[in-house]
Assembly symmetry: C2
Homo-oligomer: 483 residues x 2
């Protein structure tokens, strides 16, 4: 162990005394942990370039005072049990350190970016123990084929080649995965791209982040569905975009409602977040035409397009938009598991190079090992098999959710949106729902935060993907139960 | 397989004809791959909500024309061998598509951020086959204890708990790893922090990116060592900082040379990049005092502090700076392997919360599986053992490099900087070095790109960590060889 001791302070103090003091202070402040091995006197003397006897003198004092203990034949250690008197000695030191700590100094001026993130409620609070949650739309991890995933990971871990542990050939990601993503999107989403347009990112949030950096200057106008996805709004806002709200009807965003100055239009056409509306093909074509006329760029966030419980999959706007730049964003964290931090952006061909450099400057590359395993997972058909299975599981859960809302609330509640995704918007004509949720220990997510401007009352985003059918029935029963 | 077919276009066309056309166009454009299985007529009819006979009619035509082929008992596939005539038919389609492609459309206006990244040379070119490289300062992967790493990864992969595959409890990272990092930095670098101040990031580049977002507005002044690390300069510049150059001597940055308006000072005190100078403790204290007087923030980038081949480790500025905010950045990609995309930022306590939210907005979290394996790697002492070993290996390589430069160039070359790190700056009094490198197939990295303003001639950054001793001797011999 190389130990950094500051021996330059306090000139005039004997060297063995300085060594003693550095260790003592380090032990009392917790810098060195109890029971931890300390370097031998020979090693420390060699490292510091001083006589071994000087170190020995210091160690003897530390041992005598109970800071160090020796175990015969196995070396010297920081004492596990510090004597009472030492612990007393600690208190004033801690207090004076606290007074000098950076917290007490004058506040640090934050950037405008960071000022947009001053609210700690940005992070979702944990679900209290014993509560049922309708507030999450995560994949159900109990149904994931873990054995297959572990096997694929081990296959690449065990390989003798080290290229998966080195820098990537390209910041755009692992070539075999980019090819598989291209083929997967072509057949399932009618996305029209070459592997050169695929940039692998750490989930769709990083995809949004990189798109914003490449497209948006402070003051630029961005049009967002209203209500819309907070993760996108927050990142646009932090980078200083001026947000404008786009109105929606049952076909999706209404192009005529878009600000003509919007430089970027952000949409979730497969399954609008949070309303659940799927944008019709006619509307998609209209929106593309609007973007062409106004020279705008489209971000198509297809975060959970795999889950559609009725009707045919709709073709992605990316494949319909000829001559209009579309950044198509997708992720595997919804269809596989959230810890899978792999998503992708399909970039217009002319911007593939600069997008790769933006990714490279942000964090060099997404880890390769998981990318290699994921390429196999796609190629061997596991993803499509798993998606088919989860479509049935989530589809049934959605039915149970709808049936329970109807059973307990009748005409006093309405489930909005298409039969798709992992969540639905539910609107109540009942002012007591939120209070009963708290009283009966059900965590709800209000839709309020998703709206720009005024939000409807008593409207919630119900996540049905990570609760069982019986939990769904029970949670909704509780919402209707007066205690 | 769910296939997205657009059946809404061309009203008036018979449905079976539309299905035929979508498949045909998809096969010719490469959207559907040769040999790929197609859904059964029953499945496709059910998905599209149309009569099965309509699908059958389309499939029969596709098979008759050679787009589809059937394998008895195992389904229908896109034909592996497309007939010559079909391939001819493809050409005009591609050409007309190209004319409509986004590339041909008017150029997309990029943000100021992206404009800073317009130069493709930002990415290092690959080393041509057969060349020796002195241009890389990467860890030598041949010496890494892969068996141990694989075992630790498999330990967590095989665990029945799924929490490593879910969202993290905190965007700051895996709690056990944050504790291990705290202890490791306390004992080896005299960094003084609690686990609450540790934010795990995807390598030090993301650490820099997040620090910049939180601290810098467009137009803010940032002081950088000159010459200095490009990865930092590029990110500050992309976010619109005004860069000012800090002068250095053999003790490190000279505080008197700093612009008094600098809001942020970026330094690499352990082993300055690229000069290799280690900042003396006295100079560290002076710089801290300067920052206190000017209300500036310090970023201490300790990217390769583990490698010091003579003298004792110097204590980090983070631990010396009382009352001055220091963001301390480190990474495991240099000391372990580059594919390990895990680094950390030690954040001033008052900013830990907002920094976590900045990380969360950027990409939610760094993958947990590797974090869990890394925590074990640290706790079980493998990192310190590996570092000790590599210190010997790299130390010897540095000696060989110095001896070879002296042997072949004598007083015509000078190796600058301390005995540390994975690279050294080498200055030649010889205008022919670069040309002979190319002629003799040695890749060199000029120091030019690391300077703000004028750079010295014939100065190169020699990486000695990922070339063997004999390769080093040979490469330097070649630099001196006239062909």
């Amino acid at each position: 162990m190389a130990v950094a001791l500051n021996l330059k302070s306090a000139p005039g103090t004997a060297l063995h005394r300085k060594i003693y003091q550095e260790w003592r202070e380090g032990i009392l402040s917790g810098r060195f942990r109890r029971g931890e091995r300390v370097p031998s006197t020979r090693d420390l003397a060699a490292t510091l370039g001083i006589a071994r006897s000087t170190v020995t003198t210091a160690y003897e004092q530390l041992t005598a005072e109970g800071y160090f203990e020796s175990a015969r034949g196995s070396g010297t250690f920081v004492c596990r049990e510090l004597p009472e008197t030492l612990l007393h000695a600690r208190r004033p030191a801690t207090a004076s350190r606290a007074a000098e700590s950076p917290v007490a100094a004058e506040p640090i001026r934050l950037s405008r970016y960071a000022s947009e993130l001053s609210d700690p409620r940005l992070l979702q609070p944990p679900v209290p123990a014993g509560w049922l949650r309708l507030s999450h739309w995560r994949p159900d991890l109990d149904h994931f084929p873990w054995a297959i995933w572990h096997r694929l990971m081990k296959r690449h871990l065990g390989s003798s080649a080290t290229h998966l542990f080195d820098y990537a050939d390209s910041p755009a990601g692992h070539e075999p995965l980019r090819r598989e993503i291209t083929a997967y999107l072509a057949r399932s989403r009618a996305v029209n791209c070459s592997p050169d347009q695929v940039v692998v990112v750490n989930g769709s949030q990083q995809g949004l982040d990189l798109c914003t950096r490449i497209l948006i200057d402070r003051g630029d106008e961005v049009a967002l569905e209203n209500p819309g996805y907070q993760g996108a709004r927050q990142i646009f806002q932090a980078f200083g975009a001026r947000l404008t709200a786009a109105a929606m009807d049952s076909d999706g965003v209404i192009p005529a409602s878009l600000s003509p100055k919007a430089r970027l239009v952000y949409v979730t056409p497969s399954h609008q977040f949070p309303t659940g509306v799927s944008m019709s093909v006619a509307r998609r074509l209209e929106l593309i035409e609007w973007a062409r006329r106004h020279g705008a760029v489209i971000i198509e966030d297809d975060y959970d397009s795999e889950y559609r419980y009725s009707g045919a999959p709709l073709p992605a706007m990316q494949g319909l938009a000829k001559g209009v730049p579309v950044f198509y964003i997708g992720t595997f964290s919804k269809v596989m598991f959230p810890g899978m931090r792999i998503g992708y952006v399909i970039v217009p061909p002319a911007l593939a190079g600069v997008f790769q450099r933006v990714k490279w400057l942000a964090d060099r590359q997404t880890p390769l090992l998981e990318q290699a395993a994921l390429a196999d997972f796609l190629r061997e058909g596991h993803l499509e098999r798993h998606t088919r299975k989860m479509r049935r599981v989530y589809g049934r859960r959605r039915e149970v959710m709808v049936a329970s809302v109807s059973k307990y609330f009748g005409s006093k509640a309405q489930v909005l949106g298409d039969e798709a995704g992992m969540h639905a918007l539910v609107r109540f004509e009942d002012d007591g729902v939120a209070a009963r949720a708290v009283a009966n220990r059900v965590q709800l997510a209000s839709s309020e935060g998703y709206y720009q401007g005024e939000a409807p009352k008593n409207e919630f985003v119900f996540g049905f993907s990570c609760v069982t059918e019986s939990q769904l029935r029970e949670a909704i029963r509780r919402l209707a139960t007066h205690t």
